[in-house]
C-alpha cells in the first residue's frame, strides 16, 4: 500500500546504503542425468529421508512402491531409509544409489 507523508517528503534521500549481503556470485549448473527410456526391467530406489521420523513418510513411499511393482513390468523397487536425520549427508547411500539404481525417488515429507 502506498503511504504519503508530506512533511518527511520534503527531503530527498540519496547515497542510501544497501543492507543486502552479497550471495555467492557464481556457481556451476549441474545438468540432470540422462533418463532411462522406460522403467521396465530397471531398478528404482525409493529413499526415505526421515523428516518427521522414519514412519512419517513410510506409508506413502511403500504405497508408491506397490503401485510401481503392480503397474510396471519387471521393475525392481528398492526401499531405502537413509542414515541419520535429513540433515546428515549419507554419502554411502548416495554412492550406492548411483551404482545400483537406474532411477531414484527421494521423498520430502510435508
Amino acid at each position: 500500500m502506498k503511504r504519503e507523508n508530506p512533511t518527511l517528503n520534503d527531503t530527498i534521500y540519496k547515497d542510501v546504503l544497501n543492507p543486502l549481503a552479497q550471495q555467492k556470485p557464481e556457481w556451476d549448473i549441474t545438468p540432470l542425468v540422462e533418463r532411462p527410456a522406460t522403467l521396465e526391467g530397471k531398478t528404482v530406489y525409493i529413499i526415505n529421508q526421515r523428516w518427521g521420523g522414519t514412519k512419517a513418510h513410510e506409508p506413502l513411499l511403500l504405497t508408491m512402491k506397490k503401485w510401481l511393482e503392480e503397474n510396471i513390468h519387471d521393475i525392481k523397487v528398492v526401499y531405502k531409509v537413509k542414515k541419520g536425520s535429513y540433515a546428515y549427508n549419507d554419502s554411502g547411500l548416495w554412492q550406492e544409489t548411483g551404482e545400483k539404481a537406474d532411477a531414484a525417488i527421494i521423498g520430502v515429507p510435508h
Binding site: N18, Q22, A37
Partner: protein
C-alpha cells in the same frame, strides 16, 4: 513434497546448480497422515504438471532431457552494490525497502552514508572488516541462501535501519558474528539475546519493569536489528527460505533484554559469571526456542515444573525468574544456590516414554542419530541412554531433561512479584561484546 514446498524446493535446487529440477508434488502433505489421505494423494494429481501423481513420477524418471535440462554453464546472483540505485523521498525509500524485502514491514530509518558513518563511531573496527564469512539460516549445506563476507559496515547499515544508537553497535557485531537469530524450520522458532555485564547499564538497556515489552529503546532496536540481519543478510523470505508455518511474534525484537544483576534481592551470581566470565565482562547470550509460559504465586518450585511441562523433549529450558522469585526460592524454599534448584527441576520434571516418542524432534533427529558415530564420548553416553529408553514400556516415567545442564536461569524484571516463566529455549552461546567496542 507438497505444494507448500515447491517454490522452496526450486529455490534450493537453484542454489545447488539445478536450473531445471524435476519436482513432482503431492496434492497435500503426507507425513503422519492416515490411509484415507495416503490413498487420496496416490490417486490425486501432481499440482506442478497437472498429471496423475504416479504418471508424473514415471514421466519425470523417463522422459528424455530437454536442451534446457542438459545445459551447462554458470548461474549467478546479482552483484549487490554498496550504494542502492535509488534517490527519493522518505515514502519512496520506504516503499523501495518494502518492495525489495529489506524490512520487517515497519518503517526503517533510511541508512544514508552519513548516518552509517555516525553509526560506525560505535566501534573501533574498520568498516570493511569481515564479521562473519558466511551467514545463513539453514542447518545443512543443501541449497541454503547464504550471505557472504558480512562486514562491520553492513551490520552498521542494518543498525541504522532498526533505529539503533552507535553505542549499541558492539552488541550487534557480537550477535552478527554468530549468525541470524533463528534457523529456517517448519516450526516457528525465534532467537533470544540477553545482555549481561556493564554495557547493559551503559547503554540504558532495561532489565527491570517491562524489559520484554515495547518500551526501552536499546532493547527494542537491538533485537529488531538482529532480526533484520536474518532478512537482509541471508534473505529470509517466508515460503521460500523461511518455512515457519506461523512465524513467531517474538521475532520482531528477538526477545532482547538485559539480565537483572543489580537488584539486592538476587541471591545468585549472574548468568555469564556462572558460565565462567568475570562480572565486569560484557557478554551477550544467544538462545533459540519458541515461547514462554508464566505462572504467578507462592509455590514457585511447583510452578516452575508446571511451566516447563510443555518443553519439547530433547530441548533445553530457560527459567525466567524475577529478583523476588529468586530470593523466595533461596529464603523460603532453601535453594541457596542455582545448582540446588537446577537439580530439583532435573529430578522432578518428568514425562512418559510415549510423550518422548511422540515428539517430532525425537523422531526427526534423536532416534535417527542413534545410528551415527558419536562425535565424542559424552554424546555416545547420551545415545546409549536413549537406546535403553527405546526398550522401556511407553508409560514409563522418565526425566524430561537429559541433564541438569540443559536447565538455565535468567533473572529479569523489577522484582515486585513472584513470577516464574518457563521457556523452551536452548542456550546456544555466550559472545563477548568488549572485543567489538
Amino acid at each position: 513434497m507438497s505444494p507448500y514446498l515447491v517454490e522452496s524446493g526450486k529455490d534450493a535446487a537453484f542454489e545447488l546448480g539445478w536450473l531445471q529440477p524435476r519436482l513432482v508434488s503431492l496434492s497435500e502433505p503426507d507425513a503422519l497422515r492416515g490411509d484415507k489421505a495416503i490413498q487420496r494423494i496416490i490417486n490425486g494429481k501432481d499440482p506442478v504438471s497437472g498429471k496423475p501423481l504416479m504418471r508424473a513420477i514415471v514421466d519425470a524418471l523417463t522422459e528424455p532431457l530437454t536442451p534446457e535440462e542438459k545445459k551447462t554453464g554458470k548461474l549467478t546472483h546479482p552483484v549487490e552494490p554498496r550504494v542502492l540505485p535509488i534517490t527519493g523521498t522518505y515514502d519512496e525509500i520506504q516503499q523501495y525497502f518494502l518492495d525489495n524485502r529489506m524490512t520487517d514491514g515497519l518503517p526503517v530509518t533510511v541508512p544514508t552514508e552519513e548516518r552509517v558513518k555516525r553509526m560506525l563511531t560505535g566501534t573501533g573496527h574498520a568498516p570493511d572488516e569481515v564479521v562473519a564469512a558466511a551467514f545463513r539460516m539453514g542447518m545443512t549445506d543443501n541449497g541454503q541462501r547464504e550471505g557472504q563476507n558480512i562486514t562491520v559496515e553492513k551490520v552498521a547499515v542494518i543498525a541504522v535501519m532498526a533505529g539503533c544508537n552507535p553505542e549499541y553497535l558492539p552488541i550487534l557485531l557480537a550477535l552478527a558474528s554468530k549468525g541470524p537469530p533463528y534457523f529456517s524450520s517448519a516450526q516457528s522458532f525465534t532467537g533470544a539475546a540477553i545482555v549481561h555485564g556493564p554495557i547493559a547499564s551503559e547503554i540504558c538497556m532495561e532489565s527491570g519493569y517491562g524489559c520484554m515489552g515495547p518500551y526501552n529503546h536499546a532493547n527494542a532496536t537491538i533485537g529488531r536489528a538482529w532480526q533484520l540481519m536474518g532478512r537482509c543478510l541471508c534473505y529470509a523470505i517466508p515460503g521460500l527460505t523461511i518455512m515457519g508455518d506461523w512465524g513467531n511474534n517474538l521475532q520482531y525484537n528477538s526477545l532482547t533484554f538485559a539480565e537483572n544483576t543489580d537488584n539486592p534481592m538476587i541471591p545468585w551470581e549472574p548468568f555469564h559469571v556462572e558460565k565462567g566470565f568475570n562480572a565486569q565482562d560484557s557478554v551477550v547470550s544467544i538462545w533459540e526456542g519458541r515461547g514462554l509460559r508464566q505462572r504467578c504465586g507462592y509455590n514457585l518450585p511447583d510452578f516452575t515444573l508446571k511451566v516447563l511441562d510443555n518443553v519439547e523433549p530433547e530441548n533445553g529450558a530457560m527459567v525466567l525468574l524475577t529478583p523476588l522469585s529468586a530470593r523466595m526460592l533461596e529464603e523460603d524454599f532453601g535453594f541457596t544456590t542455582k545448582e540446588q534448584f537446577r537439580r530439583y527441576i532435573y529430578e522432578n520434571s518428568t514425562m512418559t516414554v510415549q510423550e518422548w516418542l511422540d515428539s517430532d524432534m525425537v523422531q526427526t533427529f534423536a532416534i535417527p542419530h542413534l545410528e551415527l558415530p558419536a562425535p565424542n564420548p559424552e554424546i555416545e553416553k547420551n545415545r546409549e541412554a536413549l537406546r535403553e529408553r527405546l526398550k522401556l514400556p511407553a508409560d514409563t516415567v522418565i526425566k524430561r531433561f537429559r541433564s541438569p545442564d540443559q536447565i538455565n536461569f535468567i533473572i529479569a524484571g523489577e522484582g515486585m512479584i513472584y513470577f516464574v516463566a518457563g521457556a523452551d529455549f536452548n542456550f546456544k552461546s555466550l559472545v563477548p561484546i568488549d572485543p567489538w567496542r
